[in-house]
Symmetry: C2
Subunit: 305 residues, 2 copies
C-alpha cells in the first residue's frame, strides 16, 4: 500500500492525558476522531469537552466500523492509549484488524517489551500494520480533563518498529507525530526500555518512595509547607497516576532493578562518605555530577538550535 497521512478516520482507545491529547491534536488537523474509554465518565467528558467527535459504545463497534470502511480509499488510524498491562485485553478485541491493508495501528505504551509480548501472545506474531510508539511527554496531570492538543510540541517520540512492521505504516505514524509537533526517532525495543528505565521509571520510583517516607512522619504538613527547597519537584512527579506507574514498574522490572541497584550502590557509598566526614570526596562526587549535568545541558541546547 501507499499511505499518505491526510486526515484519516481516527479511533482512540483510552482517553487519558495522552489519548485525549492526541485526539484533540488530530481533530485540530481536520481528522474526525471516535473515542472509547471503559470509564464512562471519561468518555462522556471527552465528548462534552470536544476531545472527540463521537463516543463508541464498545471497542467491537469501533473495529466493526473500521472493517466496513476497509474497502474505501480512506485510511483508518487506530491508537491504543491504555495503561501497559491493559493492552493485552484491548489487543484481543482489535485482532480482526491486525494486518489490515487500510488500517494503521499504533500505541503509546511506556514499556515496549511488554507491548510486544502482549501482541505476540494475541496474534502469534507482530501484526505488520502495528507501529509501536512512545511519546516522551508525560506529566503529573492525568485524565481526559488534562488533555492538551499542544502536549507533544517540541517533545520526543520514540518508535520501536519490528522486523516485519511495514515501512509505509512506520512512515505514516511518523508523519502523524510530526504533524502534532513532535520529533521522531527510532530504536529497538530493548534499548528503549533500558533508556526509559533510567530517565523516567527510576526517577518516578525515587519520587514516590521519598514522598511516602516523608509523609509517614508526624510533621508532614509542615514538611510540605517548606517544600520549596527541593522537595517540590519530587512531589510533582509523585502526583502521577499510580495505576500507570504500577504497570510500568512491573512490566519493565528487569531494566528498572538493574539501574535501581546501581543507584542504591551509589547512594550507599555517598552515605558512607558523609558519615565518615569525607567531605573532600563528597565534593568530588557533587562536582562530577554537576559537571556532567552542565555538559549534557550545553550539548543538548546546541543540538536543539
Amino acid at each position: 500500500m501507499n499511505l499518505t497521512f491526510d486526515k484519516p478516520r481516527v479511533a482512540v482507545i483510552g482517553l487519558g492525558l495522552i489519548g485525549g491529547s492526541i485526539a484533540i491534536g488530530l481533530r485540530s488537523l481536520g481528522c474526525v476522531v471516535q473515542g472509547f474509554d471503559e470509564d464512562k465518565k471519561s468518555l462522556e467528558a471527552g465528548l462534552a469537552n470536544g476531545v472527540i467527535d463521537g463516543a463508541a459504545t464498545s471497542i467491537a463497534s469501533l473495529v466493526a466500523s473500521f472493517k466496513e470502511n476497509d474497502s474505501l480509499e480512506k485510511t483508518n488510524l487506530l491508537i491504543i492509549a491504555v495503561p501497559v498491562l491493559a493492552m493485552e485485553m484491548v489487543f484481543k478485541e482489535i485482532s480482526p484488524v491486525f494486518n489490515s491493508k487500510k488500517i494503521v495501528i499504533t500505541d503509546v505504551g511506556s514499556v515496549k517489551a511488554e507491548v510486544v509480548r502482549a501482541l505476540e501472545s494475541t496474534a502469534g506474531e507482530m501484526p505488520t500494520n502495528f507501529v509501536l510508539g512512545h511519546p516522551i511527554a508525560g506529566s503529573e496531570r492525568h485524565g481526559v480533563h488534562a488533555s492538551n492538543g499542544a502536549l507533544f510540541q517540541h517533545h520526543q517520540v520514540i518508535l520501536t518498529p519490528g522486523q516485519n512492521t511495514q515501512a509505509d505504516c512506520i512512515a505514516y505514524v511518523r508523519a502523524m507525530w510530526e504533524q502534532l509537533g513532535a520529533s521522531v526517532t527510532e530504536m529497538d525495543v530493548a534499548h528503549h526500555d533500558d533508556i526509559l528505565a533510567q530517565t523516567s521509571h527510576l526517577p518516578h520510583l525515587l519520587a514516590y518512595a521519598l514522598i511516602d517516607t516523608l509523609s509517614k512522619q508526624g510533621d508532614s504538613l509542615e514538611i510540605f509547607d517548606y517544600a520549596a527547597g527541593g522537595l517540590r519537584d519530587f512531589s510533582r512527579i509523585a502526583a502521577s497516576d499510580p495505576v500507570m506507574w504500577r504497570d510500568i514498574f512491573e512490566s519493565n522490572r528487569k531494566p528498572l532493578l538493574n539501574v535501581l541497584d546501581r543507584y542504591l550502590d551509589e547512594l550507599t557509598e555517598l552515605r558512607g562518605l558523609i558519615e565518615a566526614g569525607e567531605s573532600g570526596l563528597v565534593f568530588v562526587l557533587l562536582e562530577r555530577a554537576k559537571k556532567a549535568r552542565d555538559h549534557f545541558s550545553i550539548l543538548l541546547e546546541k543540538r536543539s538550535k
Copy 2:
C-alpha cells in the same frame, strides 16, 4: 534600643545568589548597600551590574565603617551570605560589632546548628544582635549574575533566634524580609535543621547521586536527550553549587543521615516488592504517596488563599 526598619546602611558579605538578591532587593527599597566577596570577579560584577552601591576591599574595612557610624542615629544592617562552613572565618572578622547597639546582624545559612556552633566558638556565647535566618528560596542558578531582587517574594523565611537574641533585632530582621516580600516564621534550631534535612538536603542528595549514577553509563548523552520523562527535574536540582551542598551535607550530617536511612529502608522495601512481582502492594505504596501529596497540596493551597 528601639529599631524601625527604615533604609538602614547595609553591608552584605558574600555575593552569591542569595546575598546578591538581598542586596538588589534592599537597594530597590532605598538602602545604600556595600558588598564584599572574597572572589574579586563576583565583587566587580556586583558593582558593575548594580547589585551593590559600593565594593569594600575587606571585611575589616566594612566593620570599621560601621563602627565609625555607631554613634549616629542610623541603624546598620550586616548580612552574612557565605557557605555554611565559611561562616566561622567571617565571624572572627566581624566580632568587633557583636553586641553592638546600632548594628543588627543576620545570616542566611542552611544549617542553623552549625552557625550557632561557629558563633559560640568565636564569641563565647550568641551575640545578642545576631538573628539567625534562612530564606527557603534556593535555585539551581547561583552566583552574583543570577541575583534577582524579587527572589524572595511569596517565599518562606525561617528565623531561629536564641534565648538571648534581642527582641527588637528579631523584629528588625523580620521587617526586612517582609519588605522583600517573604513570609517569616520562627522555630528552634534543631527543628529547622530536621525539617530542612527532609525537604531540601535529602532531595538534593538523591538528585546528585542519580545524575552521577546515570552519567557514568556509556549512553549518557542519549539519556539526557530523553530527560523529559522525570529526569529533567532531578537534573535541575543537581546543577546547584557543589561547595554550598558539600558544606550542608557535612554540617547537617546527623538529621540528614537519619532521614536518608529511613529512605533507604523504604526504597529497599519497594525494590523487594517489585522484584517479587507484588504489584498489588506496589500499588498500595504508590497510591498512598500520591494521596499524601495531593492532600498536602490542597491544604497548602487553601492556606495560601
